[in-house]
């Protein structure tokens, strides 16, 4: 089958093509550098000056061209995506059963062929709505944020690849292509977290991110392989829309470990998501990923990386539910695993976020916590709610990260300002953050901030919107609606008396409360009160392109962070339901659109064997809504009391320490000592095993030892043979001539030189010969 882009089924192929093409174009053509001394102003920012060594710095035209190419790539995919989104949104009720899909043969496998293809269904459509918009915001933001960086071209190439990989993952019609996008994103996050690779911490964080997710990925690979083995295909449609296949998967016993094949495959795939979406116990990489430039954090936390994990599970949801029915209290291993891990992580990460002082780290733990919400929702079967939260979270988290990036940028600006004025005479020798100052001053530490409300008003407003959305501020913000739907789904189960639902409900409610609290704490510490350092007093974005490109995306995303929620207002919600989900548009639009993705009506004969994926949105219930109100407002109020009404002054300790007690606070601040624990039980033993056990003991000791022993045995045998040679063979060889010599020495005494003696011998000999002759003549005669 050839590509024919006039046919709209082939159009999805174009979506990832733009950014991917941009990556290659920038890498191969437009990324051009010139050599400059590292002490030059153009090589400033986060980089050491290397005693004036010559280093490559991107050329001006290359910087501009690369940005243009990158933007063109993402705009292309945005346009195509929105085209498909509008096509899909207007397609009607059958969109879901009918999809835009096409595939080409990709790999010969014996007598069969593995097909690679793209697929656009309702779930893809909402992702195609969220991802390119968030990515566009991040790209615009990066123009300003990275404007001082000597490697901006490379940054745009990598971030294009990142976007391309995410879009590949979104449009994939099979698990293998999804995995390709998944892993390429892993690579991009590795490269971008380590973008400022000269910093040891950045390099270490990059390695940590890649290694931790790889733990999950190899397990996930096993899941893919196993699924491929059992079904002979990896295509989503062929597996998920095929009750017979699901039935068979749910009843086949697993190849190892007991349980059903479906359950084992699911657990393997969930392991992949636990790594990618940073769930306990593989969440440790995500906070460290803050070492990368802020646009990257936004990319990882919102638009791409972590969303991919949740997206993959939603995509494959019928597989996880195979053999169970959470809406009727029938759970299986994978679902319980997701519910437990998700709800546990949500609360666990929220507690850690309480005690963090790094502005981006708080957000990182909030991401982990929010992903836990989605995971828990999936565990109780509320996949539509999870998808809804995925979208709203992406918007407000992208917003929050970029706003925090603005704060950091502003702080750096302020620090720079302070610095220049303090050292007016020798400011040529120092610029930006060289080694000495980086240690002394941390522009990300909230304890160094304060009072930014006045210095950076736009940033403050947008940060506030994002923060309230994250906290789930009732009725106004997107975060409220999506979180509420998860809680409503959980409560629905509680009303039926299902235990997992109850657990999820309680844990998530607690987590939501903490979320609201630490959000307010962050807002208070950052923006409220008086500046606690000189840098904060002079913080600001300045003027010009940098300021504009870093502000615009904030405003745009702020709009989405509020409005995105109104797509999914429950239709029976008082007042708001009638306002935003009237009967005229078919009620809760988001829900009704997305639910068509998966078989959801087991009444139809075709899906009889598949359990109902989710019949409808949960009805309006007072308890969950009231809970939402209480936890959000309660948390915000508490935070307001502690950090907003009486802002922290310079040198003052965090009031939370007093409330929690120093030990608890320290435990939270050190993230329950998990990093130290992992260091001790995984990292160091691995090093020990590799160095001591394998390299030194096994390979050099035993195997080479045996080889050398064999070598020595042969050398020794050789020595033995040498000795043998020298006395036996040489003895004989030399002995014969020596004997002859000795004989000659004796015989020469006959040679007297006396003629008469010779004659005597002759005479004697003649006589003897005569006698012999005579005797033999006699015998001859007798014989004759």
């Amino acid at each position: 089958m050839a590509f024919d882009f006039a046919d709209f089924r082939f159009v999805p192929w174009l979506i990832p093509a733009g950014p991917l093409l941009a990556f290659f174009l920038i890498m191969l053509i437009s990324n051009r550098a010139r050599l400059l001394p590292a002490s030059d102003q153009a090589y400033g920012g986060h980089h050491p000056d290397y005693e004036g060594m010559e280093v490559p710095v991107v050329r001006g035209w290359s910087r501009v061209l690369s940005v243009v190419i990158g933007m063109a790539g993402v705009l292309l995919s945005l346009v195509v995506s929105l085209h498909l989104v509008s096509l899909g949104w207007g397609y009607g009720h059958h969109f879901g059963e009918e999809v835009f899909a096409s595939a080409i043969p990709w790999l010969d496998t014996g007598t069969t062929t593995f097909d690679m293809g793209v697929l656009v269904d309702p779930l893809t459509v909402i992702m195609l709505f969220m991802v390119p918009i968030a990515v566009l915001g991040i790209f615009i933001y990066s123009i300003g944020y990275m404007a001082q960086d000597p490697r901006q071209s490379r940054f745009f190439a990598l971030i294009s690849l990142f976007a391309g990989a995410m879009l590949t993952l979104v449009v994939a019609d099979n698990l293998l292509l999804l995995f390709v996008g998944w892993e390429v994103m892993g690579l991009c996050s590795y490269l971008l977290i380590g973008f400022w690779f000269e910093k040891e911490s950045a390099s270490a964080a990059a390695v940590k991110a890649f290694t931790t997710t790889r733990v999950a990925d190899v397990i996930m690979l096993l899941g893919i392989v196993y699924l491929y083995l059992e079904t002979g295909t990896l295509s989503f449609r062929e597996i998920l829309y095929n009750p017979a296949v699901l039935q068979q998967l749910a009843t086949t016993p697993a190849i190892i470990l007991g349980g059903s094949a479906a359950a084992l495959i699911s657990v393997f795939l969930i392991a992949g998501t636990i790594g990618k979406s940073a769930q306990f116990p593989l969440h440790v990489w995500l906070p460290d990923a803050m070492e990368g430039p802020t646009p990257v954090s936004a990319m990882i936390h919102a638009a791409a990386m972590v969303s991919a994990g949740i997206y993959a599970i939603i995509r494959m949801f019928p597989l996880f539910v195979a053999g169970a029915d959470p809406h009727h209290g029938l759970f299986n291993g994978p679902l319980l695993l997701m519910a437990l891990v998700g709800a546990g992580t949500a609360l666990f990460a929220a507690t850690i976020a309480l005690a963090q002082n790094d502005v981006k780290r708080v957000l990182a733990y909030s991401t982990i916590s929010q992903l836990g919400f989605m995971m828990a929702a999936l565990g109780i079967g509320a996949w539509v709610a999870a998808a809804f939260h995925l979208i709203t979270h992406a918007f407000f988290k992208a917003l929050l990260f970029m706003a925090s990036g603005s704060v950091i940028h502003g702080m750096e600006h302020g620090e720079h300002h302070v610095h220049e004025h303090a050292h007016d005479d020798d400011h040529d020798d120092h610029h930006g953050h060289d080694d000495g100052h980086e240690e002394a001053f941390d522009p990300q530490d909230m304890m160094n901030m304060g009072g930014l409300q006045k210095r950076m008003p736009v940033t403050f407003i947008t940060f506030l919107i994002g923060g309230f959305s994250l906290a789930g501020f009732p009725l106004l913000t997107a975060g409220f609606w999506s979180k509420d739907e998860i809680l409503a789904d959980a409560w629905l189960g509680v009303t039926h008396g299902y235990l997992p639902h109850a657990l999820v409900f309680i844990l998530l409610a607690l987590a939501a409360f903490l979320t609201a609290f630490y959000t307010m704490r962050q807002l208070g510490l950052t923006f409220r009160g008086e500046a606690r350092t000189e840098a904060a007093r002079h913080a600001g974005l300045g003027r010009g392109v940098v300021s504009v490109t870093m502000t615009l995306p904030l405003l745009g995303l702020a709009v989405f962070a509020i409005l995105a929620g109104y797509l999914g207002v429950p239709e029976d919600f008082p007042l708001f339901g009638a306002l935003f989900s009237p009967e005229a548009v078919g009620g809760n639009r988001f829900h009704h659109f997305v639910i068509e993705t998966l078989p959801h009506n087991s009444a139809t004969a075709f899906f009889a064997a598949v359990p109902d994926m989710q019949a409808s949105a949960p009805p309006f219930m007072l308890v969950p809504v009231a809970t939402s109100f209480i936890v959000a407002l309660g948390g915000l109020y508490l935070g307001h009391r502690m950090y907003w009404r009486r802002p922290l002054r310079a040198g003052e300790a965090d009031p939370l320490i007093k409330v929690l007690g120093a030990e608890v606070h320290e435990t939270l601040r050190r993230k329950y000592y998990l990093d130290e624990l992992y260091e001790r039980i995984f990292v160091r033993p691995s090093f020990w095993f590799a160095h001591r056990a394998v390299d030194e003991f096994l390979d050099r000791g035993i195997i080479d030892g045996i080889l050398h022993l064999i070598g020595r045995v042969f050398t020794w045998t050789g020595d033995l043979l040498k000795v043998l040679n020298s006395w036996l063979i040489d003895g004989v060889g030399d002995g014969i001539p020596e004997g002859i010599v000795a004989l000659g020495l004796r015989l020469r005494h006959l040679q007297t030189g006396r003629v008469q003696q010779y004659l005597l011998y002759i005479a004697i000999a003649a006589i003897l010969i005569g006698i012999v002759f005579a005797a033999s003549a006699g015998t001859m005669v007798t014989a004759g």
């Binding site: 060594m53 496998t109 390709v180 690579l187 690779f197």
Partner: protein
Amino acid sequence: MIETVFGLDLLSALVVLPALAALLLLVLPQQKRLIRWVALVLGLGLAALAVLAFRHYQLGEPGAGYALEQSTPWFELLGASWHVGIDGISAVLVLLTGILTPLAILVSWEIEERVNMHMALLLFFQTGLMGVFVTLDLLTFFLFWELSLVPMYFLINQWGGPGRQYASVKFMIYSLGGSLGFLLATQLVGWAVSAQLGAPSFDMVTLTETWPVLANTVGATFLGIPIETVKAFAFIGFFVAFAIKVPVWPFHTWLPDAHSEAPTAGSMLLAGAMLKLGAYGFLRLVIPLFPDVWVAELQILGLPATNAATLFAVLAMLGVVLGAFAAFAQNDIKRLVAYSSVNHMGFVVLGLAVAAQAWGEQFIAGGTERLQDAILATNGAVLQMFNHGLSSAGMFLLAGAIYHKTHTRDLRQYGGFWVKAPIYGGIFLFTSMASLGLPGLNGFVGEFLVVRGAWPVFTLLTALAMIGLLFTGAYILKGIRSVLHGPFNMRWRDTRLEIETREVLAIAPLLVLMLVTGVAPNWILPVINDSVTRLLGGLAG
């Protein structure tokens, strides 16, 4: 299509012409520039022939068996003949060897001493490799097998690093030790088959038909020894020789020494092409010839009963896991890359073990339940051989490039090179990722297929091998982090670290192939798939 070159048929030309080219280089005037250019042009010409041979197979009728077959009596008294031909498996390896040789020559331009001899040895080496890949006669197979040792020994011994004496001797003696059993097994097989056919024959096509069913025709004994014992001895002879070459764990310790001490071009060819000889030997000889031996029940020291194929898979798993750990422990960049070969070839071996198990079961009991697994695993193994050829050659090129400039292989002396060498950094990353098996690049496809094939057959072992896959990531990242990341080591302040244009040209074809194979593996896979399916399915009938 062209089928003859200078009156020789294409495959014979591929074997003979490199040697002639080498002789030509030896008699040319001793001017470095001239020698280098002539060698490169000759290498490229030979590469063109290799591509031609590959295309010939690719465009031929699918499932038609050997292409470009030629047979001439050679040593009639022994029944050996000059019998050449390629199927999909050998076509891929011929292509790989053909591509790598000119690149190795281009990289060898950095050699300043005895240039003509160096280039000639590379071409002689190509003769040995091509000979093994195209021949269909066991005796000439053995001949070329041994022939390929000699040039490599001299390359390591004459142009190698500081520990070259030890490394070259270890390499040579270890390989020869394996060859001893190989020679005996070859003679045993030839003898037994001649007893059966009434006329001597070393023809592989004949052997694969007659040897596995020997007991049916010769009877229960041969030379008064039970036929099982005879087969077991022949099996061990072949097994050890090929296992050393692959190298299968624990026969691998010659490899880090040889690879790390060899000159860059030598390492490239050694890892890129020579290791494939062993795996090719398994696929061409040991698996088709000994289906019953592979699955015969073994009882070792009271352990649960097992068979040779399973043990083979255990060794493969150990190779994958311990190879990765060992690589992770290295502080010498070339040793790290060398151990990555142990790790990657472990996957090849795992695929081969699946093929051995499945083909053995099929031979004994019939049935085709394992057929699809075996086909996928073997496809994966062959593809992995090709992929490993690309990525390990690339990695050695890059390691050599940095060694040539800094004169140290110690990773701890590097650091932050990406600052000064952005192009080198980009290429290094790309190649590392291909080696790591990043989806979208070539390594992944092979590994995916092998794991898919091995999972149902050796479930637990495959799961354990995943630890190796994890640590593949660890050692690759260690390499990247040591070379590219971290603060720049100011010791190299005034050293030029950026990659040479010549080296970029040498690695560019590899990079393109890595990407193309990763994105669209079907340019090569039908060729492999066709032959593998025939090998595992066709022989069943």
